[in-house]
Structure formats: structure tokens, C-alpha cells
């Protein structure tokens, strides 16, 4: 991020930036940076809080008027609600969807795949409801029908289904994994008026309680046993977060 600022500023364009990892910005020393204490993925702190987002944005933009630099300024106000909750491990949110199986504990692959299929079917109406309400989905390439198919067919046959050859297997698995998580999040938060989980609460639910989380871990293991380098790398780094 800071490197881009260097390149653009040296071409004559004034830059300002948000810094999420202060240590990186201290090394790179871009012309102007506002460090914020928010979690990775949320440079403006809190979803749905326009007033707070605007304060952060103005604090970053005002650095463009500074007379000299380089500048690294701290925005010390924490993101309102939610953002810190999950990191502290407090209980606050639980998935409003009642799952019929103990899918998170299943070890036999066939039974896990069957539990995954049931779970996806149970989540689907919620996802559809959420999409109706929001008119938006973060699912990119593989919808709630096809992302489970891509992942399941890899686990049972090590390859893609016919008709899903648009991407390499490694890329398809990565996109399907992200799309599956997006589908689960949107389904789990679709109940009208319900509070959204913090990122930590969602991650705990997804990775520890759902068959979907178990499936992604199984796909990771399978990828790492493959001889193909891109599958190995995808398995090692790109399917399951480092902390899960």
C-alpha cells in the first residue's frame, strides 16, 4: 500500500492513505498515512455507521493539506460496536438457524458430505430471504447451489464437474471456498432485525460448528496431498485462515 503511494507521488500525484499495520507503514514511510486501530478487512471500522466512516475518511483526506511530511498520524478512536467483540471471545451472537445435524463433529467423509448437503439445504431459504432484503450478495462466481457442488465433487473425485471448466481447479476451489463462506454469512444474518455477528463470532460458528467449515478443511487437506503446485499452494494458504 505504502509502496503505491511512493510510486504515484513520485509521478506527481498527491496521495494519502489508511494504514492498518503501523509497523509496515513505519518501514515504507509513504508521504501521508492515517493509522487506524481497526481489524484487517475494515479500514473504515464499522459497517453501517456512515458518521463514523466519514470521520475516518475526512481524517485521512485532511492529510492532503499538510504543509510537509512524511506524516504518519494515529486515529485512536476504536470502531464502535462489534469489531472488538469477537476478538475478546465474548458470547453475544449465535446462529439463528437450527441445524438438524451435529455436522461440525462428523469425521466420516461420506457422512460429512451428506451433512453438508443437508446444511446447505437448510441455509438456502435464509440466503434467498437475505438477497431479497439486501438486493446484493457478496457471492462472486459460485452460487449457493454450485459452490457446494464444486467442493464436494473435488472431495469425491479430485476434479471439477463438467461444465465448470471456466477456471483452473485451484482457482475454482478458492473462489468456491470464498463464495461458500459468503453464502453462509448472508444466510445466517438474514433474519429481519437480527444483529450481525462480529467477525470473530462468525468465524467461530463457521469453522467450529458447521459442516461447511469441516468441508473446507477437508478440501485443504486433499489439496496439500496433490502433486500439482497450484493446488498445494491453494491448500496451504488460501482456503482456511491461519488461525483456524
Amino acid at each position: 500500500m505504502g509502496a503505491l503511494a511512493h510510486y504515484l507521488e513520485s509521478e506527481g500525484l498527491p496521495t494519502t492513505q489508511i494504514s492498518l499495520i503501523r509497523e509496515h507503514t513505519e518501514t515504507i514511510r509513504p508521504p501521508r498515512a492515517l493509522w487506524v486501530p481497526f481489524e484487517l478487512g475494515r479500514p473504515f471500522g464499522t459497517p453501517g455507521n456512515a458518521a463514523f466512516q466519514k470521520r475516518v475518511l475526512m481524517a485521512a483526506l485532511r492529510l492532503l493539506e499538510a504543509p510537509e511530511g512524511p506524516l504518519l498520524v494515529d486515529f485512536t478512536e476504536e470502531a464502535p460496536e462489534g469489531a472488538a467483540r469477537g476478538d475478546e471471545g465474548l458470547e453475544g451472537w449465535s446462529c439463528p438457524i437450527i441445524m438438524t445435524s451435529e455436522a461440525g463433529k462428523e469425521t466420516d467423509m461420506e457422512r460429512l458430505l451428506a451433512a453438508f448437503k443437508r446444511e446447505v439445504a437448510e441455509l438456502r431459504p435464509r440466503y434467498d430471504l437475505g438477497f431479497e432484503e439486501r438486493k446484493r450478495t457478496a457471492v462472486v462466481e459460485f452460487g449457493p447451489q454450485s459452490s457446494p457442488e464444486v467442493l464436494s465433487s473435488f472431495l469425491t473425485g479430485g476434479k471439477l464437474l463438467a461444465g465448470q471448466k471456466k477456471f483452473s481447479l485451484a482457482l475454482a476451489l478458492r473462489l468456491a471456498a470464498q463464495d461458500l463462506k459468503a453464502f453462509y454469512f448472508e444466510a445466517a444474518t438474514a433474519r429481519p432485525g437480527s444483529a450481525s455477528p462480529s467477525s470473530g463470532e462468525f468465524n467461530r460458528w463457521f469453522w467450529q460448528e458447521t459442516a461447511g467449515g469441516r468441508i473446507l478443511k477437508a478440501v485443504k487437506e486433499r489439496c496439500m496431498q496433490e502433486s500439482d503446485e497450484s493446488l498445494k499452494k491453494t491448500g496451504a494458504m488460501l482456503l482456511v485462515p491461519l488461525d483456524q
Binding site: 510510486y7 504515484l8 475494515r42 459497517p47 466512516q53 475518511l57 446484493r136 454469512f185
Partner: protein, 153 residues
């Protein structure tokens, strides 16, 4: 939290070990008051138009995002799994504050919002982004941009 001292392993070491170039030069360009500036966003969140090519590999390439894009048409295909995406799923402004920028323009706090914005995929090596960044500088000047807001994820 994006505070390394509070971050558990192995994330902490992973982030500390990312390549971070040090620069000898300290470029600095002054300009007009903020209220007269035209602002463009460059994000490293791996953002793209729905239907555009997903980010793949570490080549330092970028995607163009039209200034009239709507939330439903902006998606994220960053390769990393080690940051929160649920914030962006709920409200794109938490990573790409185009609505906020337009409000600031409407109330006169900034001059205007650029016609185009851009996104890289931040896991790429910064030096691989340099040629694209220098090309972008020309595009941004062509759009009369005189304030670039760089946003990580």
C-alpha cells in the same frame, strides 16, 4: 484488531514477515485545498466489477472500477483468507467508501469524485505493482485527479 501486539500467532509473524520495501526518496507533492480536489480511490482489497476477471496470482495487475458502480456490482476476489470480509459483505463502504466520498463532494468538503477508481490485490509484491502504478498515474492525471486515497484491507 490491526494491532500486531494484540494479534495472536501465527498471524502476527505472518504479517511481520511480509515483504516491505524501504525507500530512500521522500516524494512530496503539494496541492489545492481539499475542497477543490478531485479524489480517486485505489484499493488493494482485490475489488473488481462483477463479471470481470477474478484476481489470481501475484502479478501486480489492477482492475478498473467505474465511478458510477453500485454496491451490488462490486465484488472481492482477494486471494487471502486472513482478513475479515463480513464487514464488506454488510456495507461496501467499510472497505470502499464511495458513498461517503460522494456525500463529501455533495456537501463541498472535497471538490469532486473521480470518474474511475482502481483496485490491486494487496498480497502481490509491491515491486510488481510499480509498472502498473506508473501507468495509473497517467490515467489519474487524465481524469484530473489531484488527490489519491490509498486503501488497504
Amino acid at each position: 484488531m490491526a494491532r500486531l501486539d494484540r494479534m495472536p500467532e501465527p498471524m502476527k509473524s505472518h504479517l511481520l514477515n511480509l515483504p516491505c520495501p524501504a525507500f530512500q526518496e521522500r516524494p512530496w507533492v503539494s496541492g489545492k485545498p481539499l475542497a477543490e480536489r478531485r479524489i480517486a480511490i485505489i484499493s488493494t482489497a482485490g475489488l473488481q466489477r462483477r463479471g470481470d476477471r477474478p484476481f489470481e496470482g501475484m502479478t501486480g495487475e489492477y482492475r478498473v472500477i467505474s465511478g458510477d458502480i453500485t454496491a451490488g456490482d462490486l465484488v472481492m476476489t482477494h486471494i487471502s483468507t486472513n482478513f475479515d470480509r463480513t464487514g464488506f459483505q454488510q456495507d461496501w463502504n467499510v472497505a470502499f467508501p464511495l458513498d461517503r466520498l460522494k456525500e463529501l463532494a455533495a456537501e463541498g468538503s472535497i471538490g469532486s469524485v473521480a470518474a474511475y477508481h482502481y483496485s490491486f490485490m494487496g498480497a502481490a509484491d509491491p515491486s510488481d505493482m510499480e509498472p502498473a502504478a506508473r501507468t495509473l498515474a497517467l490515467l489519474l492525471k487524465g481524469d484530473n485527479v489531484d488527490g489519491v486515497l490509498l486503501l488497504p484491507v
